[in-house]
Symmetry: C2
Subunit: 313 residues, 2 copies
Amino acid sequence: MVRTVGVDLGGTNVRAALVDPATGSIVGSEVKRPVTDKQPEAVADLVAEVVRAADPKGERSAVGVGFAAMLRGFTGVVVNSPNFGWREVDFRGLLRARLGEQVELYNDLKAIAYGEVRWGGSGEARHVCFVFVGTGVGAGLVVDGRLDFGASHLAGEYGHVKVVPGGRLCGCGQRGCLEAYTSGRNIQLRAVEELRAGATSRAVELAGAVDKVHAGHLDQAAREGDAYATRLWDEVSGHLGVALANLVTTLNPSRLVMGGGVWHGCPELRRRTIDVFHAQANRPSLEGFTLVDSQLGDIAGVLGAATLAGSLS
Amino acid sequence: MVRTVGVDLGGTNVRAALVDPATGSIVGSEVKRPVTDKQPEAVADLVAEVVRAADPKGERSAVGVGFAAMLRGFTGVVVNSPNFGWREVDFRGLLRARLGEQVELYNDLKAIAYGEVRWGGSGEARHVCFVFVGTGVGAGLVVDGRLDFGASHLAGEYGHVKVVPGGRLCGCGQRGCLEAYTSGRNIQLRAVEELRAGATSRAVELAGAVDKVHAGHLDQAAREGDAYATRLWDEVSGHLGVALANLVTTLNPSRLVMGGGVWHGCPELRRRTIDVFHAQANRPSLEGFTLVDSQLGDIAGVLGAATLAGSLS
């Protein structure tokens, strides 16, 4: 029976498990370790360690690693990973030197998307978009049952569609990206900046201090009618709702799966975004369509990477 | 040897030819007739007539018809065709009653896109987007070598992504669509409206009369430095350039093929749009990427519909 190891490498923790890629079930137990040293060699050592811990008997035929980074083509080279501070690192090469040739590196959101779509209740849907709104923003696109990597592994870089050309600076170096307006990290940066500059909001009380304000406090404040938070949520939900509508208009999925900490943790933002989405999507594209929350939680990336790796050997 | 008939049904003319779908070559001669009566039954009679004229010996195994309409799912029902004034017409049913079961109806831009991608010099590219900017605006998306229809035949309805939520009214009934700002028809409607309301432009002289102003005159006027045309082209190229950038950021094609009368007929608009596109696309997505003009001209739709129909039988 084929077994693969799925790894989800985040900025804080790395998780791994031995998986049956034909059923999406975990064999044995999940392994989780903190990421302390962010140097490429150290991270590669850590990944090798968790892979061996998850698969002590060496049953794996391949390893799939989901990683929060923009990758170049199918070369396994990390163009840019803001979480790790890497640019142009041949991380797949470092992993293969430790674990052999049957190792593939995937963008983390593609791995999560594939896990959610295959094993998270989307059933027989063959056209599914998964959009993640958390620390970062991105998407995974399933077209006719298959994960779309695009020509060079960059399909689904939806956090970098431009919603305000020339607008706020994004971590990618360009301006006006969806992520610059709607990611948890950028919402927090912006709110702290504006609240320090004199704006007032109930969110500061809820957080205890200006510097501690995050999207969750703003959502609570908006629910309580706070003017600053309401104005900010109007803008953020406007950008996100239109962007989701445009994605569905472009790709005509039967299902849009929404995940990420900002999405799940901010019910008021979620409600407003869904309203904008329904008003702005191409109407015929909404027939037979459903928008659902992601179901698998933290294990989606491990299952997705393992399932994708199942097609390597 | 398999032969199929491809039909391109436009608002003015219908074209058809017998095609070898394995090579994209026309067998015999192309047939072209004007569309006079736009009633569904009359149009279906006309299509049956040109199919029989293109294939007098009955060599076809299937017929593919490209048609300027939004279709519902794979049912062949026309939801909406502004050119023909139809809503909710089972046009495929009318065609099958005349030509047998091996008839499929495609959105015209999907047929054109597939013809261009398969037979217009895109060679081995497996991820290609085709965007048409003519009387209307739309796209065809080729993902991993296959035309993406989406869950219900609406993938690529790119004319209806929202670029100015709540903005100008579109023919689809919603507001702020890309098509409402960038199609030849809408550019003309808007310019005539603004020029009648008091705006002045060299384009009126070039056209001979306000009511005759179209995109080509505006492009000529912009090249001559006319202030009205320059301002309008700034806005139109801004919307189109950002929309193209967002499409490439989302789907990561190795090739974007641009077609349609506005694109080919307005070099100044084209130049400005390409500048905006390059500034706004996700930068890593531009590595190994090319933007090219469509090559096949009017025959693309016939070849695309015939090639798509080749997989029916």
